[in-house]
Symmetry: C2
Subunit: 264 residues, 2 copies
Amino acid sequence: MSAAKGSAPERRDTGTLGKLMVLLDLVTHADGPMRFTDILAAADQPRGTLHRQLSHLVEEGLLEIDAEGRYSPGLRLLDLASRSWARNEFRLVAEPHLKALQDLTGETVHLGVLRGTSIIYLDKFEGQQPVRMYSQIGNASPVYCTGVGKAALSILPRERVRALVADLSFHRFTANTHTAESLLAEIEQIREQGHAFDREEHEIGIRCIAAPIWSETLSLVGGVSVTGPAYRLTMEKLSEWAAPIQQSAERIMEAMRIGLGPRR
Amino acid sequence: MSAAKGSAPERRDTGTLGKLMVLLDLVTHADGPMRFTDILAAADQPRGTLHRQLSHLVEEGLLEIDAEGRYSPGLRLLDLASRSWARNEFRLVAEPHLKALQDLTGETVHLGVLRGTSIIYLDKFEGQQPVRMYSQIGNASPVYCTGVGKAALSILPRERVRALVADLSFHRFTANTHTAESLLAEIEQIREQGHAFDREEHEIGIRCIAAPIWSETLSLVGGVSVTGPAYRLTMEKLSEWAAPIQQSAERIMEAMRIGLGPRR
DNA sequence: TTCGATTGTTCTATTATTTGGAACCTAATT
DNA sequence: AATTAGGTTCCAAATAATAGAACAATCGAA
């Protein structure tokens, strides 16, 4: 093996599927519909090849193409996702506990899991606000600027954290967003405290407190969080919820051991 | 080619992707996690081949495998879906109109599109409850037993309806569920009325009224509906909403012509 | 309109991946 | 220890994907 630079790009070997997923990601992560030429420029491939690949994705409903020849994510994804969400055991087990936490705090409660270097939000319970924001569920956010993300990192072995951080590129969302160094330092603190804060690190005006959740083998790593506007949620106020949120996390882990443990 | 029987199974030619999507569908549509052997039995493939295919799907995050070797849908699907949902133009355009309809009726409002022989729900506005994203959204339901489905069919050319109905297998959900004949008959009625009812055809105790929405080229076909419990929503009550719901559909179509029309 | 450039589609020999089948593990069961 | 079921690895043969060019269709400007 010739590991030239520190961290090799680590290309996955998933054959044809991998190439198609790159395209799917490309179109899905774009701001809007993409023309054939846009995709051609972004994906380094011959035109003929790209054309067939896109056709296959469209035929399977993973992409859609409109009358003007622009590609967008396909609705088949919604069906697949709604089924996988509805059945997700972690989410089902956590649900009542999230609800309880929402009742207690009156603020928005999130459930997230670590996948790669992102936190994927699995569920969300909002307060009474008539404002509808379900955009959050399913969203993948960077680990380094979310409470759940930092909480999750805090229970991983130091070595894994270091490896993961090395793979990260830090985008400075706000003045408080972490750098690699400050993140690693805070993880140590969180490890001792048992909970993590987000001090407007992702979005100005938004604070949160989170507690980690993990399975024994670390096959599942994530967390719960309580989030709200900074003007209402002072750091003192947030700190008051440290105990209840950690307790909530404990209860979810306990419920998981029953619900997800080895059968029989 | 030897087109033996009347309607060939019409196998899609999407090469490797097609084969993988069959597996993804299989696991996603199952009631719970599947063992390797379960999948082996359902998918008619050699073990070695299946093993590699599943590995690739897992590596790409489309499937997940737990400690006991059981396969479930992967969370990557959530991320892909949430992005495609958030950006969907039809949904964005319709949103305010759905909200208005919800305010007017006080009952649950759905937005759906026709995909193949199913209706995929794109959005949902409930009474006071904050919406749980994937509770209904993303779900694919059969055309023949939903208000939106029947409304959608009513604006398709008769020939296309007949072809579509021929592809359908009718599951008798309730005593009122349609058969092919009764469905075709009702479509004719809906065509004239401009709106469709669901008279407890999918679920006992649930009624609904729906109006069709379509683009000029029929590249987009779907509808809006108002749904609620039968004890509260008598057929008379539902009928009162025929005008407002059709008006709502009209407004959405108008907004689409502006929002989705040919650029410039 | 005509020319030229841009964008999208189809075709085919070459190349790479997938396939099928068997052999090989591993953990549980008798 | 032997047997079975469940899962994984291997490799020659079959198949599908690729690259590149040729072909259409569309668009803009002269």
